[in-house]
């Protein structure tokens, strides 16, 4: 049976991981876009991103576009694997597989 990941399962972290996993083969989304997708507040999103970054699930990318600072987030390979396993766990639970 697949494993649950209690770090990912927190509702906002789950949304962040779902959003970043869906964008894993595209340009990493900017903070403002991630905020729109997850419908989180600045503070909440920042703190949960930090938690996911510390766990090695997310990479925070900071650069400048012209003079404007830009913060983007991308799911790491470890994060993608953990997310897949957590989703598999959820599916198994819903489908009643032991």
């Amino acid at each position: 049976m697949a494993k649950a990941d209690d770090l990912i399962h927190q509702p906002l972290r789950l949304k962040i991981m779902a959003a970043l996993y869906a964008e894993r083969d595209r340009d990493p989304p900017e903070f403002s876009r991630l905020k729109a997708i997850t419908q989180a507040t600045d503070g909440n999103l920042g703190s949960h991103l930090t938690a996911l970054e510390k766990a090695g699930y997310v990479e925070i990318l900071k650069d400048h576009v012209g003079k404007r600072p830009r913060t983007r987030a991308a799911v790491s390979a470890a994060g993608a694997k953990a997310f897949r396993e957590h989703v598999a766990y959820l599916r198994e639970l819903v489908e009643g597989i032991d």
């Binding site: 649950a4 209690d6 399962h9 927190q10 509702p11 906002l12 789950l14 949304k15 779902a18 959003a19 869906a22 964008e23 894993r24 083969d25 595209r26 989304p29 876009r33 729109a36 997708i37 997850t38 419908q39 989703v87 766990y89 959820l90 599916r91 639970l93 819903v94 009643g96």
Partner: protein, 211 residues
């Protein structure tokens, strides 16, 4: 799903006295989490679609403006050719603008779904529908020739808004309303009214692109 704290969503239990914590979820909690994932993914895809659709809408606002200016300035027998040229330019431009997004989908290994072909097909259906309607109904009022494409575009966007992505509903409603206002309030200068209504499409494109 309500934002719940770790303490309320996660239950812990001890296994065989080993003091190892294992997260245990109910079937309902798991289903709710999967629904959250699906909704987040859908929202992300919608926003991505807006960002792809925005520049395409801006391009069509220019096509629209040139087409209606042409209808205002050229004799009626040249309208069809003018639109044919402009629609061709618009279709090619749309394909070019949508290409990077389609390539990204292909690179991810996901099924691209032939977005370019669908776009060309959709445009062809719309053009054939407009031409056939004119051919069958043969409107006597030239204003009908001017207003009908605007009403149809408004309806298509509104339908996309109802079934796929909400912002298109607002865009469709605005285009529909602007066409009706022009038809009843400014019939003598309807072509130029419709050309200026392209500003509404352009602003809508900017709104989508910034999503």
């Amino acid at each position: 799903m309500t934002e719940l704290s770790d303490e309320t969503t996660l239950h812990h239990r001890e296994l065989w006295g080993s003091m190892e914590d294992v997260m245990v979820l109910s079937k309902t909690e798991a289903a709710a989490a999967l629904a959250d994932i699906q909704e987040t993914t859908r929202r992300g895809a919608t926003l991505r679609g807006y960002r792809i659709g925005g520049p395409i809408l801006m391009l069509w606002s220019v096509i629209w403006m040139l087409g209606y200016l042409g209808m205002g300035l050229l004799p009626p027998h040249q309208w069809g050719w003018a639109w044919l040229v402009l629609d061709t330019v618009g279709a090619i431009g749309s394909i070019v603008l949508a290409r990077p997004a389609e390539k990204a989908v292909q690179a991810s290994g996901a099924k691209a779904g032939g977005a370019t072909l669908k776009m060309i097909g959709g445009m062809a259906v719309a053009i054939v529908f407009v031409m056939s309607t004119f051919y069958v109904l043969k409107p006597a009022d030239p204003a009908a020739y001017l207003a009908f494409p605007g009403l149809m575009v408004g309806t298509i966007y509104a339908a996309v808004g109802v079934f796929v992505a909400r912002r298109y509903l607002a865009i469709g409603a605005v285009m529909f309303a602007l066409t009706m206002i022009g038809f009843y309030a400014f019939p003598e200068v309807l072509a130029f009214w419709m050309a200026s209504a392209s500003v509404g499409l352009f602003v809508s494109g900017v709104w989508l692109a910034r999503a």
